[in-house]
Structures are given as C-alpha cells and as structure tokens.
Amino acid sequence: MAKIDKSFVKVRNLKKYFQTGTQIPFLKKPPAVKAVENVSFDVFKGETLGVVGESGCGKSTVARLLIQLIKPDAGEIIIDGLAVEKRGGISTRDLRHRMQMVFQDSYATLNPRMPIEESIAFGPISNGKKPSEAMLESKHFMDQVGLDPNIYLHRYPHELSGGQRQRVNIARALAMGPEVIILDEAVSALDKSVEAQVLNLLTDLKSDLKLTYIFISHDLNVVKYISDKVMVMYLGEVVEYGTVEDVYNSPKHPYTEALLASQPSMDPSRKLKTVPITGDPPNPINPPSGCKFHTRCPKVTDLCRTVNPKLQSTDNVDHLTACHLASNVTEVDVLNAQKGLNS
C-alpha cells in the first residue's frame, strides 16, 4: 500500500475464528466459524471509511476486534503509529480513550436501570474521573448531540425514542474524548427521517471535533452519503477497497457490482446492468475453496475455484480489489507466487 504513513488506523492481517461448541475428549473437534480472515485496511485521519457487505460477512466482528471487545487470533491493529496490545504500543485501556463505538441497537446498549446522565458519565467515571465532575460534563455532551439536558438528564432509556437513544449513545462515545468512532449499523434501525437527522449530527460532529469514522452499514446509499472511502467485505474477507467515487462508479469486483446492481432505485430509467446475485452466502464454517465468491459469481473461471485472489491495486493505485479478473496479474504469476509461499 502506497500511503501507509498517512494512515491513522492501520489494520494488518486481522484474523478471528469462533469455535462452535466445546471440545470433548476423544471426539472430533467442533468446527470453527471463519468470521474474519486476513483483513487489512487503512483509515486516514479525518476520513470516514464505510464498510459494507451482507449480514454475516464479518463487518461487526471487525468492529469488535478493532475496539478489543474480542481479541483477534492474529493480526495487528495500529492507531496513530501505536500497535494495540503490543510492546511499546498502546494498552486496551488507553485505546478506548482514542477509539469509541456506537452500536446498532440503541435500546439494548443502554442499561435500562440507569438514568441517561449516568450512562453518559459512566465511561469517564470508570476511568477515574470524579463522579460529580463527570455528571456535570454529561450535560455538555447532551447539548453536543442535540438533547436538552434539562428534559432528558434523569430520564431512563425506555422513555426516549430510538433517535434520542442513539444520540445518547453518541454522547456516551464522545464523553471518552475519542479521535476515532466506530459506528456499527448505528443508524440502520432508525426511521428514515430520524436516520437523516442522526447522519447530519454525525457529519457536524465530525467536522467540529475532527473525528475519524469507521461507518459499518448494509445500506449502500447511506454509506455513499457519509463516507470518503469504502471497503466491501464478503465472508470475512475484504474484496474491494477504494474511494467512494471509484468503487461506486467503477466497481472492480463482481460482488461489488452485484451489490450495487441490487440496490433499489427510484429512477425508472435505471435498468439493472448486472444480474443481482441470488441465494445466500455459503456457510462460513466451511467456506468454498479458492475465491470465496466463486459459488455465486457470474464470471467464475477455473482459477477462481482453486486460488484465492489477493487484495491488490488495480490500474488505479488506491483502488484495491481481490479478484483474478480485475487484476493485471496473470494466472502464471499467481501460481508462481503460491509456490514461492509454500517453499
């Protein structure tokens, strides 16, 4: 990757398998779900990276790995040059002052027995701030997300609307003073009108506070609206990465093409250029050989069935894709590369 030095969040070869069931002596090991495999990407400071893909493609796992809610099996996460949980790097505790997360379910992410003032102050108090001070500050954060502290300070989550609750969740993230916020389907559960308001709030906060976003969503329109870069995931792997313009206007991976084609449009003159993909993604316990998309790909070749393509630059250096057809690499190169790896 060319501009490695400018990246603020750098992720390299992230891997996470989930074990199903427990291992019983003498019986065969239960299979693992390959949730995230070999995921690498960069986010630049002040940018928004959109992450898209079908449900189950590992988007949320990546989010949880980033903020260390779950520990990766392998791979590196580097924030501002500091490797997470590595010698000379940054501890999980300090990471959470720099990176925060907003979850999808605005209700489930708030303790039902805690007034929202306490919910917002909880993070700072947990990190050693004086409770009285933190409570005072939570008013400021409520102001910042557009909730009137006089009305909502002592309310309980069930007394708020979905949009209001998600504002509380954003305020809670802000209370930790982060530079990066991961938004995991943060607006997906909201009504369209409320969604727009929250998106505007996010855009304003980003420019006011110089935030960097990692915005995870299955809604391509929303991602297009808010993101600078887009990353497309399929079965735990990155299949395409590039600027919004590049990816949306000239998708390089057949999966991205299919995703964009399957998007509903209000424009009757727009016809489907590509046939939308059918069926469900394969079982991540037992993913297909070679390119994981080959079972559903309209352009599949023999090479795709055996060799998993690597994520690499296309004719545009900043536009990456993991597809044999899009790369300039020939089959022979790939096979040679494989031999080189194996020896």
């Binding site: 069931g21 427990t22 019983i24 002596p25 019986l27």
Partner: protein, 316 residues
C-alpha cells in the same frame, strides 16, 4: 446424535462421582462416626479394635475407595440397628417406595398436566383462576400436614380409608387389589400434591406462552383445526414438561420420607427415618446413595428424551 449421548454420559459421570464423595462424607459430618455405636465405657483397646473392624483406621481416601468398591457391587455394609445387610433392607424398601412413586406419577401427574393445559388455554379466565388457585395451594401446602388432615378426615372422622401400612393387617406383599389400593390413596395424594402443583403451574405457563407465539397465529390463519393446533402446542410444550416431570419424580422419591413416616409405609423414606433415629449411619448412607444415583440416572434419561422429542435441545 450418538456423540450427544456420549457427551451426556461423560457429563453425568463426574456428577455421579461427586455424589458418592458427598454421601461418603456424610458419615464424617457429624463428628466421629463411632460415637454412636461405642458404649461410653469402651476402652482405648476396644475402640482400636472396632476401628479396625470397620476400617476406620485407614486414611480417608482409602476408606472412600474401599467403600465405593463395595457399594458398586451392592454391598452397603451392615445395619447397626438390625445387624442385617443394608442392601437387603434397602432393596425391599425401594420396591415399596417405587410402588408409591409410580402410582403417584401415573395418576396425579397426568391430571396435573391436564389441569395446567386447561388453565393455559383459558389464560386469565375463570378456569385458569381456579386451577391456578389450586396449583399455588398445592405448592404451598406442607404435604405432611395435609397427610395428617386427610387421616383425620378419612380415617378418624369418616373411617373409610386406612391410615397405616401397605395393606390389610400390615401385609407387606403388595398385590393389585382393592384392599391394597385403599392403602395407597392417601399416601399418593399426600406424596404428590406439591409435585402436582408445580407441574400444573409449569404446564400452564408453557401452554400460555406457546399459544402467544407467532407460529400459532400462523397456523390459525392457515385454517388448521383447533385439535391440530393443540397437537403443535403440546409438541412444543413437551420438552419443558418432561423436564419438570422428571424433576418431580425425583422429588417424589426424595420427599417420601415424611409421607412414609406418617403412613408407616415400609419404604426407603421410612427406613431413612428409622436410620436417623438410631443414628444407623450405614443405612443412612446406603439409602441416600441409592436415591441420589436414581436421581442422577433420571436426569440423564430426561435430558436424552428431551433431545429425542426436540432435536434442537442439545445441552452443551
């Protein structure tokens, strides 16, 4: 499926071992187990001799292994009270307890399931309120007291049912005839009342919850007859009911001590009560071990049959 059976067995094994350790240690919980059998003026030499006879001079783990080895082969030692082998007394008593438990399970439990279903179907209506009232009375009543009240009413006041023993004239050879059945009625009711309350309550909750689910509405809208729907409801309620019934059969056996004492029913509970009175520790130990093992096996059977009924229930 096969690997699941193996898994359950492997899971039950440490519990069974734990149970044996617990039962073994019962003897030592109340201090020196020899205090009960030794006369006050026993000399140190006598004590030592008796210790050797009973094997109490060996270290505890050795005693445990020896005891376990004997118990597995059915040798629970000799009763301090009667001098007979514990296994003989226990075998006869267990059969009598099983008669009581099986009769309760075959009469009271289906009735409780029926009542619970009725209440669940009429959730919030009068039938539900009546059944729920009965059920909560059932779970709250001290069954030994209910047994005494029944004796007062049916034996003392009305004099229509016998209050003592298994059969006429204290006969212990049980046969299925009216004279023996009369002796069963009060113990069965007294012994199963709490379990019936618990089963009726669980059944009511299960049925009401299932009826409230979307799939029942879907079946109704498909135009299925109520009896077909009832089949689906029962099929879904079955695993949880199996669980409760299994647990309660265990409670019938475990709770038998009070009922058997009141009705002088010569079962395992009666034996246990006598053993407690005489501090006859071998009998106490043997009876509790056998009853607990019975319960461990019962749990295993319930788990496996639940999985048979509903393949989704696989405990990990």
């Amino acid at each position: 499926m096969f690997s699941y059976f193996i898994k359950r067995l492997l899971y039950a094994l440490p519990i069974a071992i734990g149970v044996t350790v617990f039962v073994f240690s019962l003897v030592y919980m109340g201090g020196d187990p020899l205090d009960a059998v030794l006369p006050d003026d026993a000399t140190a030499a006598d004590v030592q001799e008796i210790k050797e006879i009973y094997g109490f001079d060996k270290p505890l783990p050795v005693q445990y292994i020896r005891w376990l080895g004997r118990a597995i082969t059915g040798d629970f030692g000799t009763s301090i009270g009667t001098g007979l082998p514990v296994a003989d007394e226990l075998g006869r008593a267990l059969v009598n307890t099983l008669i009581l438990a099986i009769c309760s399970a075959l009469t009271g439990f289906p009735f409780a399931v029926f009542l619970g279903t009725l209440a669940g179907y009429n959730h919030g209506q009068r039938a539900d309120k009546i059944v729920s009232g009965f059920a909560i009375t059932g779970v709250s009543v001290p069954h030994y007291w209910l047994a005494i009240v029944m004796v007062i009413v049916f034996s003392v006041e009305l004099n229509i049912l016998p209050s003592l023993g298994m059969g006429p004239g204290g006969s212990e050879d049980w046969t299925l005839d009216w004279a023996h059945a009369k002796h069963l009625i009060l113990p069965v009711i007294g012994g199963s009342i709490i379990s019936m309350g618990i089963i009726a309550r669980s059944m009511r909750a299960a049925v009401a919850e299932i009826l409230n689910q979307e799939f029942v509405r879907a079946l109704r809208s498909k135009g299925l007859s109520e009896s077909r729907i009832a089949y689906h409801v029962m099929k879904n309620a079955l695993p949880s009911i199996l669980g409760v019934v299994g647990l309660e059969i265990g409670s019938l056996m475990g709770g038998s001590i009070l009922i058997e004492t009141i009705f002088s029913w010569p079962g395992a509970g009666f034996l246990l009560n006598e053993a407690i009175f005489r501090r006859d520790l071998p009998v106490l130990q043997g009876t509790i071990l056998v009853l607990a093992m019975f319960f461990v096996i019962l749990n295993l059977i319930v788990d496996i049959s639940q999985t048979f009924v509903d393949k989704r229930i696989i405990r990990t």
